[in-house]
C-alpha cells in the first residue's frame, strides 16, 4: 500500500489507491483545527444527538476536523488550529493527540509488509530543532500506523503532480496557509528549493487586525475571526488587480508584500550555482499551487512582481495548477509510487 498525507496548516489531506478500485483515487480531507465546547451535559447531549464525534479533554470537549464547523455554534470560541504557526504545538497536548487520531483515521490499513507513506511537514524545513521535532513527530504518527514514512517537500511534490507537460522542469510555488515553498527543478530533479514562513494566514490575520474582525467569548476574551475572513474571500471573490473597497485593497497590498518575498526567493534561487549550471538562461514555467493561489488576480500580481524584480526574462509562463488544493498530496502520492517502483526498475536495469 502506498499512500500520501499532506499535513497542512489549514487542511490535512490523504490520498491513496483503493485496492478495490485501483483506477480511482480515494482521498480524505479534514480541516486541521478543532473546536472547544464547554463540557456540560447539554453540550454532550447535543453532540451525541447529532452524531458528532468529540473528545473529552480537561474542562472541555473538543471536536476535531470537519466536524468542528458543525459544532462551532455551540461555542463562542473560534476554532483552534492543530498547527500553530506551522508547527506541532508544544503546549497543547490534546492537539497532538488529535493529530494522532486524525492520522490513524485518514491512513488506510496496511496490506503489505512494507507500505510507504509519503508525507509533507508544515513549516519551514530548516535545520531548527523545532522543525526537526515536527517531522519526527509526524513521521512517528505515520509509523505507528504501520507505514514507512517518507518526508517530501511540498513544492517538489507539486512539481511532480503538475509539471508533466513541461517535462517536470520549471519553478513550483506552493503557497500554503503558513508556509510558501519554492522549488526549481529540471526533469524532476530538484536543483534548488527554499521555504519562507509566510502564507495566507498572515494576510488574513493582518486584514482582521486592521479591520478589527474579532469575536469575543463569554469571558470577554477577544479572538481574531479568521473564519470570517475566509468566508468573505469565498463569497465576495476579491480580485487582487481590481480591488474594490478598502478591505480588498488592503488584501491586495498584503499579497504584494508576500509575493515580493516570493519573487526575491525565486530570483535568489535562479542565481544559485546548481540552477545556473543546469538551466543556464533557459526560460522556465512557473506552476502555482496551494490554496492561497486560488484568489483572482494572483497570477497577474505575481507577473508584476517578476517584472519589477527583473526575473520576468527567465519566466516562460505562469500557470495555476488544475487542482491547486490537492496538487501537493497527489504529487506526494506520485513520489511514493515512484519510490516504490525504484527497486523494480533498478533490478530490471
Amino acid at each position: 500500500m502506498i499512500c500520501a498525507i499532506d499535513f497542512g496548516s489549514c487542511w490535512i489531506r490523504s490520498v491513496f489507491r483503493n485496492p478495490r478500485t485501483p483506477d480511482r483515487l480515494s482521498m480524505y480531507a479534514e480541516k486541521s483545527e478543532y473546536a472547544l465546547i464547554p463540557d456540560t451535559g447539554h453540550h454532550r447531549r447535543s453532540l451525541a444527538d447529532q452524531q458528532i464525534p468529540f473528545a473529552e479533554c480537561e474542562g472541555s470537549l473538543a471536536v476535531v476536523g470537519n466536524n468542528a464547523a458543525r459544532a462551532q455554534w455551540l461555542s463562542r470560541v473560534p476554532c483552534t488550529p492543530l498547527f500553530v504557526e506551522g508547527a506541532v504545538p508544544s503546549d497543547d497536548p490534546p492537539a497532538r493527540q488529535m493529530l494522532s487520531v486524525l492520522t490513524e483515521a485518514m491512513l488506510p490499513p496496511v496490506d503489505a509488509e512494507r507500505s510507504l507513506c509519503v508525507l509533507t511537514v508544515p513549516g519551514v524545513p530548516d535545520e531548527s530543532h523545532r522543525v526537526q521535532k515536527n517531522a519526527e513527530f509526524l513521521s512517528r504518527l505515520v509509523r505507528m500506523r504501520g507505514y514507512s514514512p517518507f518526508v517530501v517537500n511540498p513544492a517538489e511534490a507539486s512539481l511532480l503532480a503538475t509539471c508533466h507537460d513541461a517535462t517536470f522542469t520549471g519553478i513550483s510555488i506552493v503557497m500554503g496557509a503558513e508556509t510558501t515553498s519554492v522549488c526549481i527543478a529540471r526533469y524532476g530533479v530538484s536543483l534548488a528549493k527554499k521555504s519562507i514562513s509566510i502564507g495566507s494566514n498572515w494576510i488574513d490575520t493582518e486584514v482582521a487586525r486592521q479591520f478589527q474582525i474579532q469575536v469575543w467569548d463569554e469571558d470577554g476574551n477577544a479572538f481574531i475571526d479568521m473564519e470570517s475572513i475566509r468566508q468573505w474571500k469565498q463569497q465576495s471573490c476579491p480580485h487582487l488587480r481590481n480591488a474594490v473597497g478598502d478591505r480588498e485593497r488592503m488584501m491586495s497590498r498584503l499579497y504584494s508584500v508576500v509575493l515580493d518575498r516570493v519573487t526575491r526567493t525565486v530570483a535568489q534561487l535562479l542565481q544559485s550555482t546548481p540552477v545556473r549550471n543546469a538551466l543556464h538562461r533557459q526560460k522556465l514555467a512557473v506552476m502555482l499551487s496551494g490554496g492561497a493561489t486560488m484568489i483572482e488576480g494572483f497570477r497577474s500580481l505575481l507577473t508584476e512582481r517578476f517584472i519589477e524584480h527583473e526575473v520576468a526574462e527567465r519566466i516562460q509562463s505562469i500557470r495555476l495548477a488544475p487542482d491547486p488544493a490537492t496538487a501537493v498530496v497527489r504529487g506526494a502520492l506520485i513520489f511514493g509510487e515512484l519510490e516504490a517502483r525504484a527497486p523494480a526498475v533498478e533490478e530490471a536495469a
Binding site: 490520498v15 489507491r17 483503493n18 485501483p22 483506477d23 480511482r24 483515487l25 480515494s26 482521498m27 480524505y28 480531507a29 472547544l36 464525534p53 473528545a55 473529552e56 479533554c57 480537561e58 474542562g59 473538543a62 476536523g65 470537519n66 466536524n67 470560541v77 483552534t80 488550529p81 500553530v84 504545538p89 503546549d91 497543547d92 497536548p93 490534546p94 493527540q97 487520531v101 486524525l102 485518514m106 503532480a161 508533466h164 507537460d165 513541461a166 517535462t167 526533469y187 493582518e206 487586525r209 474579532q214 469571558d219 470577554g220 477577544a222 479572538f223 481574531i224 526560460k283 516562460q316 487542482d323 497527489r330 506520485i334 509510487e337 515512484l338 517502483r341 523494480a344 530490471a348 536495469a349
Partner: protein, 660 residues
Amino acid sequence: MERLKIVLIIAAMVATARTSPGQQATRSSSSNADHAQPTFVVIGDVRNHNYFVLSPHARTTIHQAVIQAGMLGDSVSVSVLRGKQQRAAFTQMVSGASTDTGELVMEGDVLVVQSMQPIQETHQKNAALRTDGGVVPVTLADEFIAVGDVLQGTGGLPSADQQVKIACRFRGRPLLENATLSDRVEHGDVIAVVHRAQATSRGFGNMVPASSEWQTSEVTQPEPASLNAAGNLVPEVAPATPLEFPVQASDARTFNDSRNPFADPAEPADDATLESHTETEQSESELSVRSVSQAAAVPFAPAENIAPPAPVEIAVPLEAARQAPAASMGLWNILFIGGLLVAGSMILIGSLRTEDENLSSESSAMHFNANSENVVKNFAAPVSSSIEPGTVPAPSVPEKKITATATTAVVTALRAKPLLTSEHLPSATETQAWFGGDWRSTQVGASVSSMATEQAATCDSVIVAAGIDHRGQVDSPSIYLMEKMVVDSLSDSKSAHPLMMAESVAFEHNAVSVAPTTKPIAAIPAAGAVEPEMLSSMPIRPVVSESVVNSAKDFSDLEDLLQNRLPIDLCQVELPLRVSLFGRPAGPRRLRIDAAHSRVPAPHMHMSSERRRDESATVSAQRSAFEMPSQEEQAGEKKSAATSASLDRALHYLQDRTDI
C-alpha cells in the same frame, strides 16, 4: 601439423569473425560518407518515421522536426536520444499550438514521439536500431517482434563483446539494460547495440574478433520458397557446401538481399544488377527503413510482409551512417589475414618435411582412441578421410559412456565431439526457426544436465576452436556453437562463459523439436521437456512474463496519475464518536486579556500620578507569555493604553488584585 592446425584455427576464427551490425553496415566507400549530410531519425507516433536531413543553412528545432514528421495526436511527448548517450537526454512536449522552445535537433538524434492521447488514426508501428554505425529505423510489421528479429532483419547479431539494450521506450515501459534476443520490441523502442563496459580482447586496430554472426549459416540456406512450403518442411542437415568466409573486402553481397533468407529468390541480386542500379535504387535496396516480421521465421507466414517499399529519401543518410567505421576496419584486417596466410604457408611447407612422422603419430593416436573415431575425423581432418558435416555418421559412443569417461579435459573433448553429429546438428531451417522464432528453448535438457561441468566447458572451447573441416574452413557445427555462444552471452550477461556442451546439446534438441520433422531423431533426451506448443506449427510468440505485464500496467497507471486522469473519490473520515484525551487544550490565541469586572471598583481618585505609571507598566508585563506581540500589536497596545477606557480597566484589574 599441430602448428598448421593452430594457424588454420586462428585464420578461421578471424575469417569467421563478423563485425557487429553497425560495423557491417559500413562497407561502402568512404567518399560518400564525407559528402553525407547530417541526419536525425524520428520514430514513434508519427506518420513518417524516417530519416530527416539536417539542413546546414537552417536550424531545425525539435518542434519543427516533429511537425515535419507528422505527429499523430494533438499533443506529443518527444524524447531525444542524443549522441552517445544511452538514455533519453530530455523530453519535450510538442503540440500544434505550443510555442517553439527553440531546442535544436543535433546530428544523429533519435526523436521518439509519443502521443499523449489515444491515437485514432491507423499508423505503422516502428522502432529504431542504434549501433556504432548509425541508426536504422525499423518498421514492425507484426505484433510480436523480438529483438533478435530486428537484429536479424537489419544485418546480424552483434559480436560477443557487444550488448543489446533498449535505450529508450515510451513512458511507462521499463528500459532494458541487458536485453535478450527474446525480448519483445514495442512500438517506439530504440534498441542500442553497445560495447560492453569491460575491456575485451581485441585484435589489431579496431577489429573485434567476434566469434559468430547471425547469418553465418544462412549463406547456404535453401531457397526461402521452401520455408513457406509447410508440408515440405524438413529439418535439413547443415549443407555440405563450404561456408563462405566473410572476407573483409568490400563485397556488395554482404548487404545484399541474397544474404537475407527472407528475400525473394526470384530476384537474385547479382553484381551486374547492382551495378546497373542507380544510387537511389541502391539506397532503396540497402538503406531503407527496415521492416521486421517474426512471421518470416514461421514456416506458414508469407514473406511479402517483410520488406515494405522503402523511401528513397533516406538512402543517403543511412549510407553515411553505415560508412563510419569502415575505414578503420579494412587495412588492419587485410594486413592481419595476409600475415596469417604467409605464416600458414611457411608452416605448411615446413611441416610437409615431417609428414611421414606426423602421419605415423596420428595413426597411433587414432588407434589408441579407437572408440572416438568420429572425433578424430573432424579433429585430424587434413589427414583423415573427407568428412563433411552432412555425412558424419551417428555417434557410436553412447551418452552414458561419454559422461563416464569425461575425466580429463582432453579426453572429454575428444569424446564429446561426436555428439554434434549430422543428425543432432540443426539444419539451416532449424537454425532459422530457433533464431527467428522461438526464443524460449533455452532450457537444458534433464538427461544432459549432468554433463554441465567444468570439463564440459573446457571441451566446448576446444570444439569451437577445432571446428574446422578438411578444407580448412569452419564447419557448420562450430558455426552453430559460435552462434549459440553469442546468443547465450547476450541473453544472460552472467553466463558469458563459453557455451557448455550439455547446454548446447539441449539447445540442439529443442531446436530440432521446434520445426516439424520427418526424420526420426535418434536420441532426444529432452523430448519430454519440450513444451507442447513448441511442437505445433503455429507461430511461436515470445513469452512475456506476468511480472513484465504487471510492471507495464503499473507504469501506465502511474502515467494516469501523473497526468491527473484518475478521478478522486472524496471519502469521509470515520472518527471515533467519543475519545478521551489528556491534558488541557490551549485553545485559540487570545488577542488580549481583559478580566471581567467582577465587582464595582472602589473610587481611585486618590491615586498619585507616579503610581498610575507603575501600574501601567505592570499591566503590560501581565500579558500571556504564549502571545508574542508583534510590532503592530505593540503599537496598538500603546494606542489602546493611551485611551482612558483601557487604562481604567487595567487599573481596576490591578486594584482588584491588590484588594484581594
